[in-house]
């Protein structure tokens, strides 16, 4: 009897054990994944790992654009346990008005909305407090906000972003792939109080790349300041400026006016957002004569001193006559055609070059095609296909008509002359994540000797007393350049107006150009709106500051050649009309004032280093106990102070070496 009872009890126990075992196996084996997932849903919180959009720096590491992470609070109104309690809680934690919050929550609840943003950009402590509550109806989401800490500086280069931080213009748009960050995800195991215990990286974040631009914010600032002043002063409707290193195509400054603040939200098609330097082509006018004369040097026997018949200022073509504004120019050297900016002379030279060669060199200089700069707004300009040229198109093109160019294309063309004949590729991006960005190799399009001849002729534009670009002269640096004043064509009346696109393109120093600056003012008026009057002074201001900032050694003595001021000159069609009143920087007596206070030089006399190599220069300098500041390599070509000058105590001698 007793054994039977025991067996019954054992059977019941075994059955109970079997049931427990079955449930254990069911929980741990068959439904393992389900319950693990269920447990994770309760214990784990997905945390977004922010991946901010890449920062934009200037070439010296100054921040131009950066994204700052922020957090926003949202709720799911459909999950709210109690509207009043939620309004109380959120109002207290987020410092919001309770009544207004309650109304908003109620409205969202009545509308059956599953998402309601409560507050943007909450501070860190507020976000932490809400996370600690661990309510399933409150969420904190990461956001990012783009800032442009320099305001409107380089606005057209940088561009802007939309509400989702997607680039809409400028570098922001062109480098969207690199700048855009992909956020990651982290699974955070929390305790009952919502405190994190352990986290696992589910998906790594990929922050946007840090981009270092070629822009120098100091030069950019001066460029924008001077451009704005010139546009306002000369009542132009727009202006643009490009400063570039002619040796490698690095754009140091790109300014466009009117401008805007990229921190402000984009509203419609704001015309201020147009980057005039790359987006709006214009007829260049006389600056294009540089292309004509370069083609002449390459394809004809013409030399700078070759006589060119300017036909008394009127060149007759089939069906039209081309005039200079000031008649009277007869046969003058080709260099003077450039210095005086004679239209008839340029057309005469163009006739020597021939239409086919002219077209070929226009294309070789990069006109009619994009430069490839990292701006999607870039316009290719306009060069008619050769088969669409009319009978007199070659004449128009010779003096810069019937073509449309951008300021950047002009800078690219000026760089060809400045760097010895290479077509370089302008670019804005220096580094991506501290890795240098490769640049397409330059292409030779001019023979070196012809490039040097062009440089000397362009120097005449600035240096010669009758040159049209005298206002571009720099103190201590040799300058080459060309002015342009193209009448604006009215598409409605089909006539040229008396409004001009005043342009100056130039480079300095002449011996080893370190800087190309092209300035264009659109819509200047009358003779006071010529390029030599409106654009050359901007070049002067910007180039002076840029060369100082770039620490480019001077290649001219500080002594001013006063003789230049006294020489009278003829006015041509595009020369400065008020040249007599022009401030000549080389004759500015104010600059001499500080010298009068300096004690008389007491050091040794400067030796003549010209023609010596660096080793010999340094040896001789060491022997004499003087310090030399060498620049470049090769043979000494230029020195400052010049030979024979007594040195001040402690004064250094700068010597420019050229190969």
């Amino acid at each position: 009897m007793g054994q039977r009872r025991l067996l019954t009890l054992a059977g019941i126990a075994a059955f109970w054990a079997a049931v427990v075992l079955y449930h254990l196996i069911s929980l741990q084996v068959f439904h393992h994944r389900y319950y693990v997932q269920l447990a994770r849903q309760h214990q784990e919180v997905p945390i977004e790992v922010p991946a901010p959009r890449g920062t934009l720096f200037d070439r010296n590491g100054q921040t131009l654009a950066m994204s700052v992470p922020t957090e926003s609070v949202y709720v799911n109104p459909l999950k709210l346990p109690d509207l009043g309690m939620a309004a109380d809680l959120l109002g207290r934690v987020l410092h919001l008005d309770r009544a207004q919050l309650f109304a908003t929550l109620k409205q969202a609840y009545d509308d059956h909305r599953g998402y309601l943003l409560i507050k943007h950009r909450v501070d860190f402590q507020e976000a932490e407090n809400l996370r600690g509550l661990a309510f399933d109806w409150i969420g904190v989401q990461h956001e990012s906000q783009r800032h442009y800490p320099k305001g409107d500086l380089a606005a057209h280069v940088l561009g802007g972003v939309d509400f989702s931080e997607t680039g809409t213009s400028g570098v922001e748009r062109a480098l969207e792939q690199d700048l855009h960050g992909v956020p990651g995800e982290m699974r955070l195991v929390t305790d009952v109080k919502g405190r994190g215990i352990e986290s696992q990286l589910a998906k790594p974040a990929r922050p946007g790349a840090a981009i270092t631009l070629t822009i120098d914010e100091r030069i950019q600032f001066v460029a924008e300041r001077e451009l704005e002043a010139a546009v306002i002063e000369h009542h132009a409707f727009a202006g643009s400026l490009v400063a570039m290193n002619p040796q490698n195509g690095e754009v140091l400054a790109m300014a466009s006016y009117p401008t805007y603040d990229p921190n402000q939200a984009l509203q419609g098609n704001d015309p201020r957002r147009i980057n005039h330097a790359v987006s709006l082509p214009f007829e260049p006018g006389s600056v294009f004569k540089v292309i004509t004369l370069s083609a002449a040097l390459e394809t004809t026997d013409l030399k700078p001193d070759s006589p060119i018949n300017c036909h008394g200022g009127a060149f007759t073509l089939p069906g039209r006559v081309i005039h200079d504004s000031h008649a009277g120019l007869g046969i003058i050297p080709m260099a003077d055609v450039l210095a005086r900016s004679s239209n008839s002379g340029a057309v005469e030279i163009g006739s020597h070059v021939g239409p086919e060669n002219l077209y070929k060199y226009v294309r070789r200089f990069g006109f009619g095609q994009k430069t490839g700069i990292e701006l999607k707004e870039e316009n290719r300009g306009r060069v008619w296909p050769f088969n669409r040229w009319r009978k007199t198109s070659w004449a128009s093109v010779s003096m810069g008509q019937e073509v449309g160019v951008t300021t950047l294309q002009l800078a690219q063309a000026a760089a060809v002359v400045a760097n010895g004949g290479f077509l370089i590729h302008p670019h804005l991006v220096l580094k991506k994540n501290d890795k240098p960005v490769p640049v397409a190799p330059p292409v030779r399009i001019l023979q070196p000797d012809n490039a040097i001849l062009m440089r000397s002729m362009m120097e005449g534009v600035v240096v010669l007393p009758y040159g049209t670009g005298r206002r571009a002269r720099l103190d201590g640096y040799s300058v080459g350049g060309k002015t342009g004043s193209a009448q604006i064509f009215d598409t409605q009346t089909k006539h040229y107006t008396h409004s001009y696109n005043g342009t100056f393109m130039g480079f300095a120093p002449l011996t080893n150009p370190a800087l190309v600056v092209v300035v264009t003012l659109n819509g200047t008026h009358g003779e006071g709106g010529f390029g030599g009057v409106v654009a050359a002074p901007v070049f002067h201001a910007v180039a002076s500051e840029a060369l100082r900032v770039m620490e480019v050694p001077r290649d001219l003595p500080d002594d001013k050649p006063h003789t230049l001021v006294a020489v009278a000159a003829n006015m041509d069609d595009l020369a400065d009309p008020d040249r007599a009143d022009t401030d000549n920087v080389l004759a500015d007596d104010d600059d001499d004032a500080p010298d009068a206070q300096v004690a008389a030089p007491s050091g040794p006399t400067v030796p003549n280093f010209k023609g010596m190599n660096m080793r010999a220069v340094l040896a001789q300098a060491a022997e004499m106990g003087i310090t030399v500041l060498p620049a470049g390599s090769g043979i000494a070509r230029v020195q400052n102070p010049p030979a024979g000058t007594p040195l001040y105590e402690g004064e250094r001698i700068r010597v420019q070496f050229v190969r």
């Binding site: 901010p52 100054q62 921040t63 131009l64 950066m66 700052v68 992470p69 860190f124 932490e128 800032h147 800490p149 320099k150 305001g151 500086l153 955070l188 195991v189 405190r195 994190g196 215990i197 352990e198 986290s199 914010e217 100091r218 600032f221 103190d475 201590g476 002076s544 500051e545 100082r548 620490e551 001077r554 500080d558 600059d591 500080p594 660096m614 080793r615 340094l618 300098a621 310090t627 030399v628 500041l629 060498p630 620049a631 390599s633 001040y648 402690g650 004064e651 250094r652 700068r654």
Partner: protein, 162 residues
């Protein structure tokens, strides 16, 4: 002593109550004028002093070993349990610290970005120009610029420009 209730009345075993007492109670209950008994009045607790001083426990030669075995087993269990639980506990505690540090790290990174932004705003050329204007500062003229620690070019060491 007579006021004490019966249950606490210490009665030596040698002076045990007479056996006739319950009968008296029974007879009293029949008396209509007699009060009814208190609950438990008929219970008595006897105390007896037992002197075991003369008893001697018989020595068990295996008891000592069994005792130590039990202690060792207990200790082993504690060690095993501790070995299994302590790392987990420490892991959890360190996890708290780690997560707190991660949060702190993120907060500091955010703060650094905000400070970098502030620095960039403060060093904006436009702002510097305004400040310079207020302090009557001007851009140095050519020839007034002094370059300190200019990188040497070639073999020459350069200190400053005139």
């Amino acid at each position: 002593m007579s006021t004490l209730p019966n249950p606490f009345r210490r009665t030596p075993i040698a002076h045990a109550a007479p056996a006739s007492a319950p009968h008296t109670r029974i007879h009293a209950a029949r008396d209509p004028y007699l009060l009814r008994p208190l609950p438990g009045e008929d219970l008595r607790i006897e105390f007896k002093t037992i002197n075991n001083s003369r008893l001697v426990r018989e020595p068990d030669p295996q008891a000592r070993g069994a005792c130590w075995s039990a202690i060792a087993a207990g200790a082993l269990c504690v060690v095993l349990l501790g070995g299994a639980l302590v790392p987990r506990l420490l892991n959890t505690l360190e996890g708290y610290k780690l997560e707190a540090l991660r949060v702190e790290n993120r907060r500091l990174l955010d703060e650094r970005r905000n400070l970098e932004l502030l620095e960039a705003e403060l060093t904006a050329p436009q702002r510097l120009q305004e400040l310079a204007k207020h302090q009557n500062m001007v851009v140095p003229q050519s020839g007034q610029v002094v370059h300190l620690n200019t990188p040497a070019s070639g073999d020459a060491t350069v200190a400053m420009l005139p």
